[in-house]
């Protein structure tokens, strides 16, 4: 893909990562304890009838959830760094529009000149080919004529 399309894709990727990050964190965030009067979510009205299986999945998902912001922000920063690298690698030739247009006019003139040369060479080559064909025809005729007396 060419450089500018890659840059555009990278910008869209950064946007996607940004809103995915914030959306996921908002959706999956565990509740925050604001007032000390309300009990914790773990110790509810039925205090843990089977303590063994329940804490482990809760603790696991909490640990996983704590890793999410780190992973996602690492993705975001990685994408931003890739964008910077792509910007640095842009083959942006300085000189602006006029310099480019001048170069195009110059190349067009050179192209015309070389085209003329090519045409001349082609014409000369065609003429020579025609002559050679004639000569070959004559030689073949002579061959045929000379072979008769045998």
């Amino acid at each position: 893909m060419d450089a500018i399309s890659q840059l555009q894709e990278k910008v869209n990727t950064i946007a996607t990562i940004a809103f995915t990050t914030i959306g996921t964190l908002q959706r999956d965030a565990p509740p925050v304890r604001i007032s000390p009067n309300y009990p914790e979510a773990g110790s509810g009205p039925t205090p843990a009838p089977n303590p063994n299986p329940t804490p482990t999945p809760a603790a696991d998902s909490d640990a996983d959830f704590a890793k999410q912001p780190k992973l996602m922000s690492a993705e975001l920063v990685k994408a931003a760094k890739q964008f910077d690298a792509l910007v640095a690698a842009l083959p942006l030739s300085e000189g602006g529009e006029e310099a480019q247009l001048k170069r195009i006019a110059q190349l067009e003139a050179e192209n015309d000149a070389v085209g003329q040369q090519l045409e001349k060479q082609l014409e000369a080559a065609e003429r020579e080919l025609q002559e050679v064909r004639e000569l070959f025809g004559q030689a073949a005729d002579h061959c045929l004529n000379l072979k008769k007396p045998e």
């Binding site: 555009q8 931003a80 910007v87 070389v114 040369q117």
Partner: protein, 175 residues
């Protein structure tokens, strides 16, 4: 069988009755449209220029001017974007109801980024044209060299064959 029939063809097909005999008796096709035209309620232009940000009602964050340093502006917009995302995250923690302004700012930055990238396209088109012209010149020069070489070789072969013919011709005459 509640099928609807197709709509009839437009009635001006009758004008083309004698087209085979006299092509000029039928009306000319409509000329190409110039300028702006309306299609299904939307305005379109035939002039293919990237509309500037002000035309779309979006504030321009990077400085205007004849020659913009694209790399610098792209990099600074990227940093601004990262800062704004961080600000949004902070605001969501402290004052979640005030997210709207931050989200607007972030979308403004994205619009500026895309507009900058789109304005690089004409430059890319000219650079592609330059590259194509250079390739064509190189191919033409190569072709000229090839033809010159082949002609010289053909001349050489002809001269050789003249020599061989003279030799065999002389031996034939002597026989």
């Amino acid at each position: 069988m509640a099928t609807a029939t197709y709509p009839p063809p437009p009635p001006y097909y009758k004008l083309y009755k004698d087209y085979l005999q006299d092509p000029k008796s039928a009306p000319e096709p409509p000329p190409p449209i110039e300028g702006t035209y309306i299609c299904y309620g939307g305005n379109y232009t035939t002039d293919d220029i990237l509309p500037s940000l002000e035309d779309q009602g979006v504030r321009q964050l990077y400085p205007k001017g004849p020659n913009i340093d694209f790399k610098k502006e792209l990099r600074s917009l990227n940093r601004e974007l990262q800062l704004h995302i961080l600000e949004l995250a902070d605001i969501l923690v402290e004052r979640p109801s005030q997210y709207a302004r931050r989200v607007e700012d972030i979308s403004l930055i994205f619009k500026n980024l895309h507009h900058l990238l789109n304005s690089l396209r004409p430059h890319q088109a000219r650079a592609t044209l330059i590259h194509i012209l250079e390739l064509q010149i190189q191919r033409r020069k190569q072709a000229v060299e090839d033809i010159k070489r082949r002609r010289e070789e053909a001349q050489r072969l002809l001269k050789e064959s003249i020599g061989t013919l003279e030799d065999t011709g002389a031996s034939f005459v002597l026989k």
